[in-house]
C-alpha cells in the first residue's frame, strides 16, 4: 500500500509542533533543531510528492475516510498540480523561515518555530482538502498559529493588528460557512468535486458566490477589504510576514479557483465586472498608495496587494475573453497562477531583506536608511534584484504572470490591459524609489556605516530565492506545462453553465 503522503505532510509538522510545545519546557531552545529536521523532512516529502505525481488533470494521492457520517463529512485529501505547486511553495518557504529565524528570535524560539510547523501543516491541509468542511476547518484553524505568531512575537501595536487580522478573516469565513451549509442543504454533500458538478440556479449561485467572495477577498486581500494586511505585516515578526505574504494570501486565490469558479460559474460570469473592477483598483490605486509609504514593510505589503490584483484579474477576466479563445483564457489563468508562485518568492524575499535590515538597525523606517550599499554591498545587490523582480523585469519571475495577464486581458478590453499595465510605471516607481532611498546615496549616519553585510546563513536564503526568481523568469515552461491540465479542468468547470 502507498504511504498516505498528504496526511504525512499535514500531520507530521502538527504533531511535531505539539511535541515541541510540550517538551520545550524541559529541553528548551534545543528543540529548534528538531523543528529544523521536521521542516527538512517536509521538504523531502514535498519533493517526493512532485516526483511521484504525473501530469494530469485528476486529483492524485487521494485519501478518503469517513469523518462525521451523519453529515456526510469526509476526511478526504487529494492534490492536483495546482495543489501540489502550492504545497511545495508552502513547505519550501517554511523551511527558509525556520532557517532565517535561527538566531533572530530571542524569546522562546522553539515555540515560535512550533507555531510555524503547526501553520505549515494546516496550510498544506487547506491546499489538499477535497471536502469543503475539512477545507473550512483547516482554513479557520490556520488563523490560530498566525494569531499567536503576531500576538506573541510581534511589534508594539500587535494587539490592534492581531484583532484586526482575526476579525477580518473570521468575518469573511463565517459567510463561507453559511454558504457551505446552504449548499449542503441543497445537495447533501460537502465534497468539492460534487458541488462543482451540482446544478444550482443563478439566483442561488449569486449569494453563494458573494459569500465565497467575502471570505477569499479578505484573504487575498482585495480592495477594499485589504487594510488589515499592512497592519498585520508591520507588527508581524519577519517570519510571520514572509509566510503571510508568500502563502496565506495565496489561499484566497486558491479559494477562487476551487470554489467560486467551479461551484458558481454562472454567478462568476454574471459578476465578473465586479471582480475585474476590484482587481484593477487594487493594481492602480494600491500602487499609488504604496508610493506614499514611509515604512518599508507597509510599502511591500501594499505592493503585495497590487500584485495579487493580477491574480484575481487573471482568474475573472476569462469570462470577457472572446468565447472560444481557449488559449487566451488559459493564458489568463496561467498568468494568475504563475503570479501567485512568483509573488511567493519575491514578496518573501523582500520581507526577508527588510528583516535583515531590521535585525541590525531595529527600524523599518525608510528615512532611517540611506547608502546601505556602502556597508552592505552583497545584500544591496540582492535587494536590487528583488526590487527589480517586484517591478516585473523580464527575466525574473515577476514578469511572467503580469505579462500573461496583461496580454490575455487585452483580448477582453484595451482598457483592462492599459490599466493593468500602469503597474509597469507605478510598480517600478515604488520599488526603485525604495531602493534609491534605502540602498543608494551617501551613508546617512554612523549606524548605517557600521552595518555588517549579510551572514552566510542570510546570504544562502536570499540567494536560493534569487535563483528561483531567475529560473522561473527565464524558463517558466516546466511550471506552466505542469499546471496546464489542472487549470484546463478548472477552466472547463468555470465555463460550463449550471443553470
Amino acid at each position: 500500500m502507498d504511504i498516505p503522503i498528504l496526511s504525512l505532510l499535514i500531520w507530521m509538522p502538527v504533531f511535531a509542533a505539539i511535541l515541541i510545545m510540550l517538551m520545550g519546557r524541559e529541553i528548551g531552545e534545543g528543540m529548534k533543531w528538531f523543528a529544523l529536521v521536521v521542516s527538512i523532512a517536509e521538504m523531502i516529502l514535498a519533493v517526493l510528492l512532485i516526483s511521484k505525481s504525473h501530469i494530469s488533470s485528476q486529483m492524485q494521492f487521494v485519501e478518503k475516510h469517513s469523518w462525521i457520517e451523519s453529515f456526510d463529512i469526509y476526511y478526504a485529501l487529494g492534490a492536483d498540480a495546482i495543489s501540489i505547486t502550492l504545497i511545495a511553495l508552502t513547505v519550501f518557504m517554511t523551511l527558509l523561515v525556520v532557517i532565517a529565524s535561527w538566531t533572530n528570535i530571542k524569546h522562546q524560539i522553539h515555540n515560535y518555530l512550533a507555531a510555524f510547523l503547526l501553520l505549515e501543516g494546516l496550510m498544506v491541509g487547506v491546499f489538499c482538502a477535497l471536502d469543503a468542511m475539512l477545507f473550512y476547518v483547516f482554513f479557520e484553524a490556520m488563523l490560530i498559529p498566525m494569531f499567536l505568531i503576531i500576538g506573541i512575537w510581534g511589534g508594539p501595536r500587535r494587539v490592534y493588528a492581531t484583532i484586526k487580522f482575526f476579525l477580518y478573516t473570521f468575518f469573511g469565513s463565517v459567510f463561507m460557512l453559511i454558504a457551505l451549509l446552504y449548499l449542503y442543504s441543497q445537495t447533501n454533500t460537502f465534497e468539492i468535486a460534487q458541488l462543482s458538478g451540482a446544478a444550482i440556479p443563478l439566483n442561488v449561485q449569486i449569494p453563494i458566490f458573494l459569500a465565497f467572495l467575502i471570505a477569499f477577498a479578505v484573504k487575498v486581500p482585495m480592495w477594499p477589504v485589504h487594510t488589515w494586511l499592512p497592519d498585520a505585516h508591520v507588527e508581524a515578526p519577519t517570519g510571520g510576514s514572509v509566510i503571510l505574504a508568500a502563502i496565506m494570501l495565496k489561499i484566497g486565490g486558491y479559494g477562487f479557483l476551487r470554489f467560486n469558479l467551479p461551484i458558481t460559474p454562472d454567478a462568476s460570469r454574471e459578476l465578473d465586472w465586479l471582480l475585474i473592477a476590484m482587481s484593477l483598483i487594487a493594481i492602480v490605486y494600491i500602487g499609488f498608495v504604496a508610493l506614499a509609504q514611509k515604512d518599508m514593510k507597509k510599502l511591500i505589503a501594499y505592493s503585495s496587494i497590487a500584485h495579487m490584483g493580477f491574480v484575481t484579474l487573471g482568474f475573472f477576466v476569462i469570462y470577457q475573453i472572446s468565447a472560444g479563445n481557449t488559449d487566451f483564457q488559459m493564458l489568463a489563468l496561467q498568468g494568475g497562477m504563475v503570479q501567485m508562485i512568483s509573488h511567493g518568492f519575491i514578496s518573501g524575499a523582500l520581507f526577508l531583506c527588510v528583516g535583515v535590515l531590521y535585525n541590525r538597525m531595529h527600524s523599518r523606517n525608510i528615512d532611517d536608511y540611506q547608502g546601505v550599499v556602502n556597508s552592505m554591498p552583497v545584500f544591496s545587490a540582492l535587494m536590487v534584484l528583488f526590487a527589480m523582480a517586484n517591478s516585473g523585469l523580464p527575466g525574473t519571475s515577476g514578469f511572467v504572470g503580469e505579462f500573461m495577464v496583461i496580454v490575455a486581458s487585452f483580448d477582453a478590453s484595451l482598457w483592462y490591459a492599459a490599466l493593468a499595465a500602469i503597474t509597469l510605471i507605478v510598480g517600478a516607481a515604488y520599488s526603485l524609489w525604495l531602493v534609491k532611498r534605502v540602498i543608494f546615496g551617501e551613508v546617512l549616519n554612523d549606524s548605517v556605516a557600521a552595518l555588517q553585510d549579510v551572514t552566510t546563513r542570510e546570504f544562502s536564503i536570499l540567494i536560493i530565492l534569487a535563483l528561483m526568481v531567475i529560473a522561473l523568469g527565464v524558463w517558466p515552461a516546466p511550471l506552466v506545462e505542469y499546471l496546464q491540465p489542472s487549470l484546463e479542468r478548472v477552466l472547463n468547470l468555470a465555463l460550463v453553465t449550471k443553470v
Partner: protein
C-alpha cells in the same frame, strides 16, 4: 560551426564574462576582470564576423532558429530564438565592435575607480542584453532585451551611487523608459491578441490580413488596429531612443561614467528603438498614420534638441543633445520609409558618436574630471591624438563631404525631400536647417575645447597631457571607422543588402527614387560640395569660428538680444520642470491622498473602526437596560405581556 552555435557563442560569451566577474570578482584581480570580459566580447565580435561571412555566402537569406520554448499555452507558443539576417548582423557587428573598443578604453578611464570590476561586469551584461534584443526572432525576447538594457543602463547611470544627481538620473531614466514600455507592452499585447503569435515571421505573415481590422477604444471611437499597434510600439521606441517628449532621461544619463555614455547612451542602446521600427517595417508600412507620426516626432527631436545643444556648457551634455538630435534624424528616416537609411545613419553614428564621447572622456581624464568647456581651451597642443580624432569625429557628425556622417545624413535629408507624405515639406526644412545647427554647436564645442587661449590656470594647463594608449588606440580605430564607414553606402543602401530584412511598400518608393539619383560614391561627394546642406554647414562653422575664436566677445555682446531664446533653451523647454514638479509630485501626491483619505479615513476610519464604534455604541446603550434591578425587569415583563396580549387579541 553552424550559425546557431555561433549565435549562442555571440550571446553567451559576454554573459559568461559578466557573470564570472560579477559573482566571483572578489577573488579576481583587476587584470583578470578585464581580460575575462574583453575576451568574452572579443569572442562575440569574432563570432559575429564569422556569421556575417557565412551569410555573405548565402546572399543574406534570413535564417530563423529556435533555441527553447519559454512557455506554451495550448496553441499559443512563446519561444526564445534568433533571426539572423542582414539587419541583425549589422547590429551585431556594431554592438560588439563598439563594445570591444569601450571595454579596452575602460581600462584607462576607470583605472583609479574602486568599482573597476563591477563596471566590467555591467558593460558585458549590457552587451549580452543588447545582443539578445537585436538577435531576437520574437517580441517576447525583444521585450526581454529591451528591459534588460534598461536595467543595465539604470545600474550604470547610477554607477557612482553616492552622488545624489546620479541616483536621481538613473531612476528617472528607468521610469521614463517605463512610460515608453507601457505603450510597447500594449502594442505587443495587441499583436498577440490579433495574430495569436509573437513570432516575427508569423506576425509579419498575418499583418497584411489585419489592414481592415479596427480596435474599439470607446463605444464611439474605433481606430485601425495596425495604426494602434504601430504607434504603441513606437511609444516604446520613443522611450528607448529618447524622442520628444520622452527624451528627458538621456541628457541626465551623462551622470554615468563616460565609456557607457559612448556605448549605451550614444552608439547602441538608444538606437534600439530605431532598430525595432526598422525590424517591424512589415507592420509600419501598413499604417500611413503611424509613419506620419514617426516622421514628425523625429523632426521635432532633430530640430529642437539640436537647438538646446547650442547653449550647453558641459562637454558631455553637448554631445548628449547632439545624440538626441541625430536620433531624431534616424527617426525621420523611418517615418519616410527609408528604413535602410535610418540603419545606415545608426551605423555611421555609432562610430563617430562613440568616438566623440570617448574623446570627450579623454579630455575629461586629462582635465582631472573637469567637464565645463568654458574652463578649457587650447588643448590641441597638449593632446594631439585626442585633438585629431575629435576633429575627424566632428567632421563626420556635421556631415562634411567624404566623412561617414555625410553619406548617411545627406541621404536622409534627400529622402525627406523626395517623400510624398503630407507635411514632409516642413520636415525637410527642419532637417535641412538642422545641418546649420549641428555645425554650429559641434564647432563651438571643438573650438572652445581645443583652440583659443587656455581658460584655466597655467598650472592646470601644464599638467594636461595626452592620455595613455588604452584610451588613444580605441580613439584611433574609431576615427578610422568614422571615415571609412560611409563608403559602405553603395552596397548597403543601393545594393540588395537589406532586401530580405526590410520591407517597403510600393507606395513608399522614396528609396527607389533615391537610387535613380545615385551615381556612385564619387559623384555623391562631388555633389555634396555644391548642395544646400553644404552652404548651411559652412555657415554654421563660420559662425562658430566667428563667435568663439575670432571675436570671443560676441556671445556676451549678443546675450541681451537672445535673452528669451536663451532662457527657453537653457531650461530645455521646461520638460524637466513639468515632469519633476508636475507628474512626479502629482504621482506621490495622489499616493499620499489615497493613503490618507482612501485607506486611513474612508476604509479604516469609517468602514472598519466605524463599524466597531457602532457596535460599541449600541452595546453601551444596550448595557443600560441590564440594570440588575428586579422591579425594572418585572415592569418590562408586564409591559411586554400586555403588549403581546393586546396583539393577539386584536389579531383574532
Amino acid at each position: 560551426m553552424s550559425i546557431l552555435q555561433l549565435c549562442l557563442i555571440t550571446v553567451l560569451a559576454p554573459l559568461f564574462g559578466s557573470v564570472v566577474v560579477g559573482l566571483f570578482g572578489k577573488w579576481l584581480t583587476r587584470a583578470h576582470a578585464h581580460l575575462i570580459t574583453i575576451g568574452g566580447v572579443a569572442l562575440a565580435l569574432v563570432a559575429s564576423g564569422v556569421i556575417f561571412y557565412q551569410l555573405l555566402q548565402t546572399e543574406f537569406a534570413p535564417q530563423n532558429f529556435s533555441v527553447y520554448e519559454w512557455a506554451t499555452i495550448g496553441g499559443f507558443s512563446l519561444g526564445i530564438g534568433f533571426l539572423i539576417d542582414s539587419l541583425t548582423v549589422t547590429m551585431m557587428l556594431v554592438v560588439t565592435s563598439v563594445s570591444l573598443m569601450v571595454h579596452v578604453y575602460t581600462i584607462g578611464y576607470m583605472h583609479e575607480d574602486p568599482g573597476y570590476k563591477r563596471f566590467f561586469s555591467y558593460i558585458s551584461l549590457f552587451t549580452f542584453s543588447m545582443l539578445m534584443l537585436v538577435m531576437s526572432n520574437n517580441f517576447l525576447q525583444l521585450f526581454f532585451g529591451w528591459e534588460a538594457v534598461g536595467l543595465v543602463s539604470y545600474l550604470l547611470i547610477g554607477f557612482w551611487y553616492t552622488r545624489p544627481s546620479a541616483i536621481l538620473a538613473n531612476i528617472k531614466a528607468f521610469l521614463v523608459n517605463r512610460v515608453g514600455d507601457f505603450g510597447f507592452l500594449l502594442g505587443i499585447a495587441a499583436i498577440a491578441v490579433s495574430t495569436s503569435s509573437l513570432d516575427y515571421a508569423q506576425v509579419f505573415a498575418a499583418a497584411p490580413g489585419l489592414v481592415d481590422s479596427t480596435l474599439t477604444i470607446t463605444n464611439s471611437l474605433e481606430v485601425p488596429l495596425l495604426t494602434f499597434i504601430c504607434i504603441a510600439l513606437f511609444v516604446g521606441a520613443m522611450g528607448k531612443s529618447a524622442q520628444v517628449p520622452l527624451h528627458v532621461w538621456l541628457p541626465d544619463s551623462m551622470e554615468g561614467p563616460t565609456p557607457i555614455s559612448a556605448l549605451i547612451h550614444a552608439a547602441t542602446m538608444v538606437t534600439a528603438g530605431i532598430f525595432m521600427v526598422a525590424r517591424m517595417s512589415p507592420l509600419f508600412e501598413l499604417s500611413e498614420t503611424a509613419l506620419l507620426f514617426i516622421m514628425f516626432v523625429g523632426a521635432i527631436t532633430a530640430f529642437f534638441m539640436g537647438l538646446v545643444a547650442m547653449v550647453q556648457d558641459d562637454i558631455k551634455k553637448v554631445v548628449a543633445y547632439s545624440t538626441l538630435s541625430q536620433l531624431g534624424y534616424m527617426t525621420v528616416a523611418l517615418g519616410v520609409s527609408a528604413y535602410s537609411l535610418a540603419i545606415f545613419h545608426l551605423y555611421t553614428h555609432a562610430f563617430f558618436k562613440a568616438l566623440l564621447f570617448l574623446a570627450a572622456g579623454s579630455v575629461i581624464i586629462a582635465m582631472h574630471h573637469e567637464q565645463d568647456i568654458r574652463k578649457m581651451g587650447g588643448l590641441w597642443k597638449r593632446m594631439p591624438i585626442t585633438y585629431a580624432t575629435s576633429l575627424i569625429g566632428t567632421l563626420a557628425l556635421i556631415g562634411f563631404p567624404a566623412f561617414s556622417g555625410f553619406f548617411s545624413k545627406e541621404s536622409i535629408i534627400e529622402a525627406v525631400h523626395l517623400s510624398e507624405l503630407p507635411g514632409a515639406h516642413y520636415v525637410y526644412w527642419m532637417v535641412l536647417s538642422g545641418v546649420f545647427i549641428t555645425a554650429f554647436y559641434s564647432l563651438r564645442l571643438f573650438f572652445l575645447v581645443f583652440h583659443g587661449k587656455p581658460r584655466m590656470s597655467d598650472e592646470t594647463y601644464s599638467h594636461v597631457h595626452e592620455t595613455p594608449k588604452v584610451v588613444t588606440v580605441p580613439l584611433i580605430i574609431l576615427a578610422i571607422c568614422s571615415v571609412v564607414a560611409g563608403y559602405a553606402i553603395e552596397p548597403m543602401i543601393y545594393g540588395d543588402f537589406f532586401a530580405a530584412s526590410i520591407h517597403v511598400s510600393e507606395h513608399h518608393g522614396v528609396m527607389e527614387k533615391m537610387a535613380d539619383h545615385f551615381h556612385g560614391v564619387q559623384a555623391m561627394i562631388t555633389h555634396g560640395f555644391v548642395a544646400h546642406a553644404f552652404y548651411l554647414l559652412l555657415a554654421g562653422v563660420a559662425l562658430a569660428w566667428l563667435c568663439y575664436l575670432l571675436v570671443p566677445s560676441i556671445p556676451k555682446l549678443l546675450a541681451p538680444v537672445f535673452i528669451i531664446p536663451n532662457y527657453i533653451l537653457t531650461r530645455k523647454y521646461g520638460f524637466d520642470w513639468l515632469y519633476i514638479k508636475g507628474f512626479a509630485r502629482l504621482g506621490v501626491g495622489i499616493g499620499k491622498a489615497a493613503s490618507a483619505l482612501g485607506d486611513r479615513i474612508l476604509i479604516d476610519g469609517l468602514m472598519v473602526n466605524g463599524t466597531a464604534n457602532i457596535v460599541k455604541g449600541v452595546s453601551m446603550q444596550l448595557r443600560k437596560i441590564q440594570s440588575g434591578y428586579l422591579y425594572q425587569y418585572a415592569f418590562a415583563m408586564i409591559i411586554g405581556l400586555l403588549g403581546l396580549l393586546t396583539f393577539f387579541y386584536f389579531q383574532i
